[in-house]
Point group: C2
Chain length 212, copies 2
Amino acid sequence: MMGSIRNTDTPARKCHVAGKKQFDMDTALDAAMIQFWRAGYADTSVDDLSRATGLNRSSIYSSLGDKDTLFLRCLDRYAARYGDKYDAALSCAVSEPLAAVRAFFDVTLERIADPELPDGCLIAQSAMAIPVLSPAVAAHAKEALGLQRLRLRAALKAGRMTDQAAEAFAVHAAAVNQSLAVMSRAGASPAQLLAIVDVTIDALAQALRARD
Amino acid sequence: MMGSIRNTDTPARKCHVAGKKQFDMDTALDAAMIQFWRAGYADTSVDDLSRATGLNRSSIYSSLGDKDTLFLRCLDRYAARYGDKYDAALSCAVSEPLAAVRAFFDVTLERIADPELPDGCLIAQSAMAIPVLSPAVAAHAKEALGLQRLRLRAALKAGRMTDQAAEAFAVHAAAVNQSLAVMSRAGASPAQLLAIVDVTIDALAQALRARD
DNA sequence: CACATCTTGAACTGATCAGTTCAAGATAGG
DNA sequence: CCTATCTTGAACTGATCAGTTCAAGATGTG
């Protein structure tokens, strides 16, 4: 299959360099991550991963580990990549908490709007599948969701919200953020997703106004 | 719940009555629904369904159809059962819109709190898996989510909200409701789930107050 | 008792799954 | 050229999957 494709469709291809990895690890991991992200763990076979990454089946096992290990790496990769974006969005929370939370949601909305990326969210998808995932993967998914809440809580506290209000808004905002994954998969329009977020933003504005 | 007659552990069973169905269809469908609900479509094999329902593999195919057909029936069953509960909760929206929406969320919160039932939500789980589900199943999942939004919108309009506000709150509330499925799967506490809902309820209270 | 009707378990097909192994091919550095 | 190193395709194992088939068993009805 791979060989026939190369012989007929892809005549020229650079490969085989002794002593070094022949592929770009980041590119391969991104491709695997997107495959898991689109189809989920259960509906992704190692052959799917082979097709997505362009790596040989044997190479996947030797370089990326088995399916469970690779999924864990992709989950952590996803959490780190978007975690950084969420952190950056929330960084202005001290001076502008409302704008910070809006920027937080914008990270998700822009990701969903990006036609290069699947809808949904790898974390949300993994959370939904927790009863049938390995304990290690389940733990990482839970941790990623918990981190999201802590991120938001810290930002809201930095924005001089009370501890109690920050805790409540943080868990609410984290949940609404996950809901965007579900709704986008169900075909919700960008306008609908924005409406979902706006109600939360308005509630936060109200709470921040009451604070002063 | 299930297996009132048939228990997979029990060696001696009553069965075989000529000319009539030997099992309770509702019980079997409930058991299948719960299995799909817990593990999802991909992670439920026909053998799992056989074990869950207590029905023989052959009987499942002859009486409940193939896996896809059965899943569709379970999805519709789920949507109808809880759809009725959501409708009942929202029925007081004309006089008490805030209490109606709270009752709406209580349906979900009580379902999650019920130790007999899985966490999460069959609709939300199916929505997340739309890219890998059959078109028919995907359509039903989307429709169920759309119906939820329409239910809420009608209730809010009945509660004398403006069309625009009702539309926005309806899609927000439907999304928050789905988010409870994700968060409960990720191990959120009942208190956290309540906090998620309360922010939305407070926002609605604010909007209803502004209306008068 | 005999028949009609239904359920059952088990076997079977063909497909796909995860994971392993290995000989053949390719190439950089010596 | 030679060798060390890496990638590749393909075959293979053992398991599980969905779906089908069928003879044997069970039981109400006539």
